[in-house]
Amino acid sequence: MNDPFVLGGVTLRSRLFIGTGKYGSDSQIPAVAEASGAEVITVAMRRVDKGGEGIVSHIPKTMRLLPNTSGARTAEEAVRLARLARAAGCGDWIKIEVISDARHLLPDGYETARATEILAREGFTVLPYINPDLYVARACLDAGAAAVMPLGAPIGTNRGLRTKEMIAILLEELDAPVIVDAGIGKPSEACEAMEMGAAACLVNTAIASAADPVRMAAAFRAAVEAGRNAWLAGPGAVRSVAEGAEASSPLTGFLR
């Protein structure tokens, strides 16, 4: 089934994006990446410790890096991080993350939209991480975002699609790709997001915190594919309790 996902002018075959944070050992990442089938992988940018090793050596060379601007509290800080990330020579995709709420790690929509506008003008492929708020989403898209990335639940919580209703509204109203990011804890939740019409899911903690991250990556791959196929297939109508059941087998020719 040929169902490419074109994002920022790039054609992707996988609709599962993965992260590189929180692994027990970064040496798990190549096997996780392989099992996930993902082509896009997120990274963060931080100060180098003396002689410290970065993450890039653990990422398969064929993957597309999606640096985030985590640590940014304002649009200006996000712009600075994005420019530094691009200077690393790994492309011009950037996940805007502007957070000043240290407890719940909820994104600041106003600062995110401002950063999106500046970076889109500079030619970045901008993927803003947002609350699933229609106005913020529209502001980011009007500012040039290639997609929006609403959260399913707060970052790193594995609590699932708590914002399902709001994400459904984004899916209904927006013409741009919606990539569900953050909070997805189980493959069934990623599957559900895809069944609803999400363009892709970004999963980090759920895979990295699993007892067997490689197997969990494979599970998420299957779930995202299943959900996408279900969306493309077009689910049949749901009957209410009041309508009663409808036999799948013929109601004639009974042996009685």
């Binding site: 985030n68 530094l84 200077a87 970052i155």
Partner: protein, 66 residues
């Protein structure tokens, strides 16, 4: 000369370039990005960019993140 690297006050020999400083710290120039006084220094210019007294330097790289 005295400068600030990643928020820490350090003393380095006069005339040291960015490339020399990275090697002295054990940082691989191929995988880091350097900002000098707020401006990104292209990797191709590391060897030709001398550090100066009072410089503020940031050396960053990609780490795990979501």
């Amino acid at each position: 000369m005295k400068l600030v690297i990643n928020g820490e006050q350090v003393s380095l020999d006069d005339g040291l370039t960015i490339d020399g400083m990275l090697h002295a710290r054990g940082n691989d120039p191929a995988v880091v990005v350097v900002e000098r006084n707020g401006d990104i220094v292209p990797a191709a210019a590391f060897a030709d960019t001398p550090l100066a007294d009072g410089d503020s330097i940031e050396i960053v790289h990609f780490v795990g993140g979501g």
